[in-house]
Each structure stands twice: as structure tokens, then as C-alpha cells.
């Protein structure tokens, strides 16, 4: 008996430091699993939230997988996961077919990224469009080195690609020679390693490993996205099949609570609920 009390005391002691009386307390005493899949832009926030919840209550298991927005919608629609994330609004046909319920919780920008060694400091929208269409093929045409441009784009299921194509490329052509990578993380790795690369990622994924040029005179960032100066933005959605219930509901509520908003901000997204 003493032993058990000792172990319990230890658990309370070690987890105690992270326990804040607050919104996360709803998870206390609950048990179960939440499976999450989909949009890769969502992953950092999802991971942090999941860790927080699992720290407060180790009986709850939360799994997080990527796959892209398409996968998120498809998997939640077919009942394979509890929450399907997407970086685009699910299409009408998808909402109807699966009976999806959407929860937009953050605003996110998508912006062009370059390798750190690239001299180019600013680009205009029309230059970006021409680069992606394959009309501009050398960096020297946009005030860079005399090197060929290596274009990177995302796969067809990507919500990031969707918003970039609509709002930055103005629904223009993406050249067939563009390399295709399958997540925000893979895009960052590719651009980081290729001195002549141009790619695009979610603002939440930007760090000092890559370089963000000024676009039409605006530095893409969380601030300029909030103020409306930077226009290539989208909402991040978490989708459920029908009304969420039980722990899934708690999870989404927590994400959109005061504490959740802080986590969202921490990862450079803009929480929608705090506005």
C-alpha cells in the first residue's frame, strides 16, 4: 500500500508542474483514444495540444498522422479517424457525401520560401507566377545569381497547394517540370538543401532554415496576415463526421479555448476564436 501511495505521489509530483487549473482540466479522469490525420500544416499545433492533454491524463491516447488535406477529409469521412484536418475548406461534394462538420480554428498564410544562400530579397506576384509557369528560368532575371531555378510544388491533395495556386498564382499554370514533395516538412527540407530552390510553405512552418522574400513589398508574416496586408491566407480546418461528441468535442473545445489560442499563436498561426 505504501508503495502505491509513493508511486501516486510521484506521478502527482512530476506532472504537477505542468498542471494549470484551466480548460485542460476537462480531460482529467477520462480515458480513450483520439485519432487525427490530414493536413500537414496543422501537425505542430496538434502535437503540442496532444502532448499537453496526455501529460495531464496519461490514460488518453492521441495519435496524429499527416497525409495532406485530401487524406484528412477522406479518412474522417470514412470513419477511419476521429478528426480529419484540412488546409482548405472541404468541397461541397465532400461535405454532402460524408456529412462533415467543419471547425476552422486558425488563419494561416502560405508564402514563397527560398534557400538561405539565395541573394533574391524581393519578388512580385507576377514574377512568382512566371517562375511557376516556367517562363522565368534563371535567378538572374529576378536580380539573383546566374543559376537555373528549381521549382518545388506540393502534391495534388495538398491544401497548401490549393491556396497558393488560387491566391498567389492566380490560378496560373504550374510547370510540369516542377518537383513535387508531399508535405510542408518535406518542402522545407528540399528548399533548405537546394541553393536554387523556390517553394512555398505554411507561415507556421517558417524558421531560420529558409528565407522568405518580400512579396509585392510586403514581408509575409503572422502580423501582415492579420492586418490583411499579406493576402495569401487560408483557414485551417479540423473536420468531424457529424456533430463531435465526447472527448473529440473536448479536444476541439480546448483547441478553440483561451489556452488553445495561446498554443496556436505559439506556432505562428492566428487563432480565429480570440478575435
Amino acid at each position: 500500500m505504501k508503495k502505491i501511495i509513493g508511486i501516486l505521489a510521484c506521478i502527482v509530483f512530476f506532472s504537477g508542474g505542468n498542471l494549470k487549473a484551466g480548460e485542460i482540466d476537462v480531460f482529467k479522469g477520462k480515458k480513450g483514444t483520439i485519432n487525427i490525420a490530414g493536413g500537414t500544416a496543422h501537425i505542430p499545433v496538434m502535437k503540442y495540444v496532444a502532448q499537453e492533454i496526455m501529460r495531464v491524463n496519461p490514460d488518453i491516447k492521441i495519435t496524429i498522422a499527416g497525409g495532406g488535406s485530401g487524406v484528412g477529409i477522406q479518412k474522417v469521412g470514412e470513419g477511419l479517424v476521429d478528426i480529419g484536418n484540412s488546409g482548405r475548406k472541404p468541397k461541397e461534394t465532400e461535405i454532402e457525401k460524408y456529412g462533415l462538420k467543419m471547425f476552422p480554428w486558425a488563419l494561416d498564410g502560405v508564402c514563397v520560401v527560398l534557400n538561405k544562400e539565395n541573394k533574391v530579397k524581393q519578388l512580385t506576384s507576377s514574377q512568382i507566377q512566371d517562375i511557376y509557369a516556367g517562363k522565368i528560368t534563371s535567378w538572374k532575371d529576378v536580380a539573383g545569381n546566374d543559376d537555373g531555378i528549381n521549382i518545388y510544388t506540393r502534391d495534388e491533395a495538398s491544401g497548401t497547394r490549393d491556396v497558393f495556386w488560387k491566391k498567389q498564382l492566380n490560378q496560373g499554370t504550374i510547370a510540369q517540370k516542377a518537383n513535387v514533395v508531399s508535405s510542408n516538412g518535406a518542402m522545407k527540407v528540399a528548399v533548405q538543401n537546394d541553393p536554387n530552390a523556390i517553394g512555398y510553405i505554411s507561415i507556421g512552418h517558417i524558421d531560420d532554415q529558409v528565407k522568405v522574400p518580400e512579396i509585392d513589398g510586403v514581408q509575409p508574416s503572422q502580423e501582415t496576415a492579420v492586418s490583411g496586408e499579406y493576402k495569401v491566407v487560408r483557414k485551417l480546418y479540423s473536420n468531424t463526421k457529424g456533430e463531435p461528441s465526447g472527448m473529440v468535442k473536448d479536444f476541439l473545445n480546448y483547441l478553440m479555448s483561451e489556452e488553445g489560442s495561446k498554443i496556436i499563436e505559439k506556432y505562428k498561426f492566428i487563432p480565429l476564436k480570440s478575435k
Binding site: N150, D155, S182
Partner: protein, 284 residues
């Protein structure tokens, strides 16, 4: 029922099960690609342009890329495995032989993703620097790594056929004054020609079926490859990339056609190797 017939029946049943499974896969693929065989769709699939945003859904570039990559990888690997397998039947170099055998057997157990992952950080920048063409994610890079992947399969298969050459032939050759190289080239190789070809075919099958390496290293650009250093997208990578898109779209449907083509391609390859083995049996 005695034990022997029971085991026999179990084997027969599992054999039949496998046959039906493959048949069902074929039927399933065929059924789902049926809507694509309407004239309109069919010709849009058989084009060189894949730009889903503009309603171009051609998968010919992917077909070509699959064929180029697998053939190039098999050719590279074929040369290497031929030499290694030849070395492995020599009895006068026990140490090298032992080490090689251990390495080759170990290679069969390395997951493909490890090859891909390491190549992204080591081989891709190297190719980019040496050839100064594009991003380094290209047909050539993927083919090199694929050739490493299929190497053990080919070495083990070729080694087996080399070893099956009756000892008396080799001894006869030695007694006639052949040196090691002549013995290998004029006795062992001609007698194992079918096995060598078989290894080639199986290597080709394995190379064309691999997804991850092409997905990670070939660049996935849906373009018609003009040279070795172009980024390309194989059929397998295409399926992996498009699988996640909206299930109602034409893009999504194109993966069934890709699957069907791959299936038929593999079927032809396996059929070829099967008939070759049969032929060899008859000759013996």
C-alpha cells in the same frame, strides 16, 4: 485423411487463394478504370500533359518514367551483381567471399525508406553539384538508389544458378588449363544463361514496383523525361501522390488506370520469367 493429403490440400488451397486474390485485384482495377475507357477520357489519359488544375490528366509521362527508371536501375545493378555473383563462386578467396555474403544478405533486410532518406542528404546534393543540372532529384538519382535496392535479389539469384553448374564441368575446364576467368566466362556463364536472364527480369520487376525510392528521390515532376537529370514521376509515385486527393475527381480516377497498367506490366514480367524457367527445365 492422413497427414500427407491434409498438408497437400492446405498448400493447394493457399495456392488457389493466391490465384483468386490476384484475379480479384485485376478485376477490381479493371472495373474501376472502366469509366476511363470512354473515348474522351481515354485520350485525355493517353497524353503527355498532367496539369489537374487545367483539366489535363495525361499519364503517359509517368508510364515512360517507370519504364526508364526500372530499366536503367536494372542495367546498373545487373553489371554489379554479375561481377559480385561471379566472385562469390570462387573458392580461393574465402575471406572476401564471407564478407560479401554477409553484406549482401544484410542488404536484403534494409528498409527502402532508409535508402531514400540517406540518399536525400548524401546523394542528391552530390548529383546536383557534379552535374549542375536541376535539383538533384531526378531519374538518375532514383535509378542509382534503386539499383542498390535490387542488387541483393539479383546477386542471390545469379549466385544460385552459378553454383548449380555441375562441378565436373568446372573441373574439366580447369584440367584443360582454363584460368579462373576463362572457366567463369566459357563454362559457368553459358550454362547459367537462363538464370542470369531470370535474375534480370526479377530485378526489373522489383525496380518497377518500388514506390518509396522514386517518390522520395525522382522529383515527382509529371513531365516527359528528356534526359537523365530530369525530375520524373513514376506510376507508383503517382498513385501515392494522388491517392490522397478528392475521391470524386478525374485525377483520383487516373490512379486506377495507373494501377492497371502497373499490374499488367508486372504480369508480363512474371510471365516472361515463368516461361523462361519452364524452358530451362525442358533443356535439362
Amino acid at each position: 485423411m492422413n497427414k500427407k493429403t491434409l498438408t497437400e490440400n492446405i498448400f493447394k488451397l493457399s495456392g488457389l487463394f493466391t490465384v483468386f486474390l490476384s484475379l480479384f485485384i485485376l478485376l477490381f482495377l479493371f472495373y474501376f478504370s472502366l469509366p476511363l475507357f470512354k473515348p474522351d477520357n481515354f485520350f485525355s489519359l493517353l497524353s503527355f500533359k498532367w496539369q489537374p488544375e487545367e483539366n489535363f490528366y495525361g499519364i503517359l509521362p509517368m508510364m515512360l518514367a517507370s519504364i526508364y527508371i526500372s530499366i536503367l536501375a536494372t542495367l546498373i545493378s545487373f553489371g554489379l551483381s554479375f561481377g559480385i555473383a561471379g566472385l562469390l563462386i570462387r573458392n580461393d578467396l574465402p575471406k572476401i567471399k564471407k564478407i560479401l555474403e554477409i553484406i549482401i544478405k544484410f542488404m536484403t533486410s534494409i528498409p527502402t525508406v532508409i535508402y531514400g532518406f540517406i540518399a536525400i542528404f548524401l546523394l542528391v546534393p552530390l548529383i546536383r553539384k557534379i552535374f549542375v543540372q536541376g535539383s538533384g532529384f531526378c531519374l538518375f538519382t532514383a535509378a542509382i538508389v534503386l539499383s542498390v535496392l535490387i542488387l541483393p535479389t539479383m546477386v542471390l539469384l545469379m549466385g544460385d544458378t552459378f553454383r548449380q553448374v555441375p562441378k565436373k564441368y568446372r573441373e574439366a575446364a580447369v584440367s584443360l588449363g582454363f584460368n579462373k576467368f576463362q572457366e567463369f566466362l566459357y563454362v559457368v556463364v553459358p550454362l547459367s544463361s537462363y538464370g542470369i536472364f531470370n535474375a534480370f527480369i526479377l530485378g526489373l520487376g522489383r525496380a518497377s514496383g518500388d514506390t518509396l525510392i522514386a517518390l522520395m528521390l525522382a522529383g515527382n515532376a509529371p513531365q516527359n523525361p528528356a534526359h537523365f537529370f530530369d525530375a520524373v514521376r513514376t506510376l507508383t509515385a503517382h498513385i501515392a501522390l494522388v491517392l490522397a486527393s478528392d475521391t470524386q475527381s478525374v485525377a483520383f480516377k487516373s490512379i486506377f488506370a495507373s494501377g492497371l497498367i502497373l499490374f499488367l506490366f508486372m504480369f508480363v514480367i512474371s510471365a516472361m520469367s515463368y516461361f523462361l524457367i519452364e524452358k530451362r527445365k525442358i533443356r535439362q
